[in-house]
């Protein structure tokens, strides 16, 4: 059996769709953030795969993934700071309760 690009794209697709499902159904903000990380990770994997299989001479997808990982780290750190701060204010990180904060 040859391991083609499709063999790797299918697990990445499943990972992304699990992220979509979790983002739509979870109510806890940290659980939503975890689903977001799944989606980001699947996209990173796709960049690397297309780089490796279609353009093995250059490293553009490789560098995009590297910067993507750094941006994901920054975004997660800031989001968690906001969530912890929100927890100090309302003692709850359910997304339904956050909607009431603007009143």
């Amino acid at each position: 059996m040859d391991i083609t690009i499709l063999c790797y794209l299918i697990p990445a697709l499943v990972m992304f769709c699990c992220g979509v499902y979790g983002f739509l159904t979870r109510r806890n903000m940290i659980a939503m953030l975890i689903s977001l990380e799944l989606m980001l990770n699947a996209v990173d994997l796709n960049f690397v795969l297309f780089n490796r299989y279609l353009y093995p001479a250059s490293n553009e997808g490789w560098f995009f993934t590297l910067f993507g990982i750094a941006i994901a780290a920054a975004e997660t750190a800031l989001a968690i700071a906001i969530i912890v701060n929100l927890f100090h204010v309302s003692k709850n990180i359910d997304v339904r309760d956050v909607a009431h904060m603007k009143h």
Binding site: M1, I3, T4, I5, L6, C7, Y8, L9, I10, A12, L13, V14, M15, F16, C17, C18, G19, V20, Y21, G22, L24, T25, R26, R27, N28, I30, A31, L33, I34, E37, L38, N41, D44, V48, R52, Y53, P56, S58, N59, W62, F63, T65, L66, F67, I69, A70, A72, A73, A74, T76, A77, L78, I80, A81, I82, I83, V84, F87, I93, D94
Partner: protein, 171 residues
């Protein structure tokens, strides 16, 4: 034609990614979700290693597993009281989310199988990006060199540090 060991490693990684991704979004305890996310990230790093991108796999393990998942665990322990984490994760719009995700998966899988089933039969040969090549590409400003994104990332991380301090400080 890939070797048998390579195929076995591929199947282990693929099954691990699928199973742990599903478990991440379906488990009812949030700390377990973070743990399953860690396994997914490790499997992704192993795929990077398998595709001969050693530096990227190392970055994936160091930043994601070493940084982000630890942040998640800290935040979970700070924001959930022991005992009630199963209620907090309970989801309402399960059917809607499931239909949306399945439609997206089906559509993309159809496009993949009908369009790119024939491209790229096997892994092409590649020169491994050495540390020297990576360093030159990161700090050069020519073609296929990435000084501007590198500096932008530096400023972004600085802004993130300042933002984190401002958001999280005591008033």
């Amino acid at each position: 034609m890939e070797s048998l060991g390579s195929q076995i490693v591929y199947w282990i990684l693929a099954v691990a990614i699928v199973v742990f991704s599903v478990l991440t979004v379906t488990t009812r305890k949030i700390l377990r979700a973070a743990t399953y996310l860690l396994f997914v990230l490790f499997a992704t790093a192993a795929i990077y290693f398998k595709l001969d991108y050693e530096f990227l796999g190392t970055v994936q393990i160091a930043v994601y597993a070493g940084g982000i998942v630890v942040l998640f665990v800290f935040a979970i322990l700070l924001t959930t009281r022991p005992g009630d984490n199963s209620q907090l994760l309970e989801s309402r719009k399960k059917v809607l989310g499931g239909i949306g995700a399945l439609c997206a998966a089906g559509l993309t899988a159809w496009a993949l199988f009908s369009r790119c089933a024939d491209v790229c039969r096997s892994l092409p040969a590649m020169e491994n990006p050495t540390m020297h090549k990576i360093g030159v590409a990161m700090l050069g400003s020519g073609y296929e060199q990435y000084l501007l994104p590198f500096e932008a990332i530096s400023v972004l991380l600085l802004a993130c540090i300042i933002g984190g301090v401002v958001v999280a400080r005591k008033r």
